[in-house]
């Protein structure tokens, strides 16, 4: 239990890359890419966790109660919103690839020559 979240982050990372390697469709590849990215969120939040700590919001809670680390939460929350936009960019690339090469299978999308 004391190392379970870190093992979970490593597991999600490797499973995500496995999904990318075995995918047969570009859209499945993009979803597995964002799955790999989610492993970093789990790792960051687990590092910042304090045992018996509450959320770092002090609205009704007296200041000074034990709380988890706010810096890693700040890093993670902007990252999540940005990741969906980057996934949309890669999906737009896939749509263009479908227009030009008529396929969305990564095995058949070769680099353009000449």
């Amino acid at each position: 239990m004391s190392y379970l979240p870190f093992v979970l982050a490593a597991w999600i990372f490797i499973v995500g890359i496995f999904g990318i390697v075995r995918s047969r469709h570009y859209i499945h590849l993009v979803v597995c890419l964002s799955l790999t990215q989610s492993s970093t969120y789990v790792l960051l939040l687990s590092i910042g966790y304090v045992k018996h700590g509450g959320a770092p919001i002090f609205k009704d809670v007296p200041q000074g109660t034990r709380a988890v680390d706010p810096v890693v939460q700040a890093l993670t929350l902007t990252d999540i919103v940005v990741s969906v936009t980057v996934a949309a960019l890669v999906l737009a690339l896939a749509i263009q690839a479908k227009k030009n090469a008529k396929t969305m299978n990564p095995d058949e999308l070769r680099p353009v020559r000449g």
Binding site: L4, L8, V42, V81, K99
Partner: protein, 78 residues
């Protein structure tokens, strides 16, 4: 509390494997939305409400829309 954390972490691990192994595209959207929900619960259990809100909003509004448009575009050009 420890049991809750261990349970949700195991569920997240199973969900990640399910996303990587799904082949059908529409099913993939549903499985990935379920995985997002499990991640939201994990973030709440780890005492991060801002991060959980961010992931919830993005996983409900952002991801399914762009994925469905891409799938529709893929099928319409067959």
């Amino acid at each position: 509390m420890v049991a809750l954390q261990a349970t949700i972490m195991t569920l997240v691990a199973i969900g990640a494997l399910a996303v990587a192994l799904t082949n059908d595209l529409v099913r993939l959207v549903i499985v990935s939305s379920a995985y997002t929900l499990l991640l939201v619960i994990l973030f709440v259990v780890l005492q991060a409400p801002d991060v959980a809100l961010s992931m919830l909003v993005v996983g409900t509004i952002g991801y399914p829309l762009v994925l469905f448009v891409a799938i529709r575009r893929d099928r319409a050009d067959e």
